[in-house]
């Protein structure tokens, strides 16, 4: 029974690491993109 529990625990741990890894990188990039867009807007306004 302990092997069964360990196998499923490792499976779920790896799955969560993979899924949350993607999700956190997505969030970070979305924030960075927003900041870059704002910087570009400011630049355009300054130029005009």
């Amino acid at each position: 029974m302990s092997y069964l529990f360990a196998a499923y625990a490792v499976f779920w741990a790896l799955t969560f690491v993979f899924v949350f890894g993607i999700a956190s990188r997505q969030k970070k990039l979305e924030k960075e993109m927003e900041a870059l867009r704002r910087a570009l807007e400011r630049k355009k306004q300054q130029e005009s």
Binding site: F11, Q26, L29, E30, L40
Partner: protein, 232 residues
């Protein structure tokens, strides 16, 4: 909300519900196996993990062909995204297999008795090298072209690993052979549902991983626009 996001939400919900049903089937519906006992329930996640790994490498193979034919960036993105999922799920299959092997074969990793263990390790190393190749190359077009060729050639290791248990017939059981599956009806139903669930999970993860790669491209594009503007 764009189309990708709607698809993402829909796939998240379907995969989540299917995974809960799969867990119910594995732990409450499928009967206890007479010889191995409860440890046999590892099989319901071990085989689908290996299936997703192999299928993901097949998609990398197809994406490689598509990239070499058309040279479109999206196929490169699909190729490396799928290879990443393939490595993750093959590693899961190896680990869950090891937890099954210990009580069944009395060894965590009897690689001398079972050729598949050696072949799956080589398979993982081949795909680790795929990512090393990508990391070393700087030019994006060259990186995509080399990775596409590598992804096509590397796929040769997948059928070799899959067929090894049929060719050598040592320790690893063969689930599907000419004599049937050796599973009772509830066990077979549980197994097939888990296969379907993992396939759905693969497409869900692929969509999110591709979206992540697109975001990286968009951020790079914006940085270029911003900094080239500064220089100009």
């Amino acid at each position: 909300m764009n189309r990708d996001s709607r698809w993402g939400d829909w796939l998240n919900a379907v995969s989540g519900v299917m995974m809960i049903v799969a867990l119910y089937l594995v732990f409450l519906y499928a009967p206890r196996e007479a010889t191995m006992g409860d440890v046999q329930r590892i099989f319901y996640f071990h085989v689908p993990s290996a299936w997703v790994g192999f299928f993901a490498f097949f998609v990398t193979f197809l994406a490689g062909i598509a990239y070499l034919r058309g040279g479109k960036r999206r196929w490169d993105v699909v190729g490396f995204s799928s290879a990443e999922i393939g490595v993750a799920f093959t590693a899961m299959a190896v680990i869950t297999g090891s937890f099954w092997a210990k009580p069944t074969w009395n060894a965590w990793w009897p690689w001398q008795q079972e050729p598949r263990l050696m072949l799956v390790t080589i398979l993982l190393l081949i795909y680790f090298a795929y990512f090393m190749l990508r990391a070393f190359l700087q030019d994006e077009e060259q990186k995509a072209r080399f990775a596409a060729v590598y992804g096509i050639v590397a796929f040769a290791s997948v059928p070799l690993t899959f067929l090894s248990i049929r060719w050598w017939q040592r320790l690893h059981p063969v689930v599907f052979d000419r004599g049937g599956t050796g599973l009772t009806r509830p066990m077979l139903l549980t197994f097939l549902f888990c296969l379907l669930t993992f396939t759905m999970l693969y497409f869900t993860l692929l969509l999110h991983r591709v979206r992540l790669a697109r975001l990286v491209d968009e951020v790079e594009g914006l940085k270029k626009r911003l900094y080239s503007g500064e220089r100009g």
